[in-house]
């Protein structure tokens, strides 16, 4: 799975992207986020506020934590957007 980080979430994690094999029990957005936060202090800090972290699956916004990761190859984590 390709995982991308943006803005201050990227800064807290310490890098912009990584490629990792997810454990087999990580099948939904919710289990993914819980697992991510357990990977270390920098991830717990970057993802500490559930209401702020935004998620995109294969470059589409996802607001449903129960959504399956089946067939997904890219997950992005980022704060609320401030373009325009």
């Amino acid at each position: 799975m390709k995982i991308l980080y943006f803005a201050w979430i990227r800064e807290r994690v310490g890098y912009a992207r990584e490629e990792i094999d997810l454990p087999p029990e990580i099948t939904t957005v919710e289990t993914f986020l819980t697992w991510m936060k357990s990977r270390g202090e920098e991830f717990a800090y970057a993802l500490e506020s559930d209401s702020i972290v935004r998620i995109a699956l294969d470059q589409e916004h996802c607001s449903d934590l129960s959504q399956s990761l089946d067939g997904i190859s890219e997950i992005a984590l980022f704060p609320p957007m401030t373009g325009g």
């Binding site: 991308l4 704060p79 957007m81 401030t82 373009g83």
Partner: protein, 166 residues
Amino acid sequence: MVDTVHTTNAAKGPIVRIQAEDFDTAQIIEQATKDRSNVGAVVTFTGLCRDEGGKLAALELEHYAGMAEAEITRIATRAFAHWPLDQLIAIHRYGKIAPGENIVLVIATSSHRQAAFDAASYLMDFLKTKAPFWKKQHLIDGTSSKWVDAIEKDDKALERWKDVTG
């Protein structure tokens, strides 16, 4: 400066560009309306970088390459389907942008003004909260840089478009 927007044939959908370079608004309007005698209304929105009371040296715009274009295209495609538009063009810059410089351009053209006003407004409202861009402020005194916080009223602005769907 890249300013070629191909609009010679009837547009089948919106035109979306994500680029570091500046754009020439007048030239893009001219291209969008050339030989389009059915067009009676052109609405243009240009977002500029403010100097924040003289304190700002530059904004740095980070973006999610690929998704930025895909998401603005999704928003613009919904607008294109909902209003009777001739053209809908969105250009968003990324990278370092100095006060007074352009950040974003939206142009909507139509036979009549209301569709053009509404489509441009809809596109900007959604772009602000759904297009994956993040602004960081660099201050003139060089002491600090700070990520811009999202504004709640930007989220609220979406509520008035509830009846617009793809």
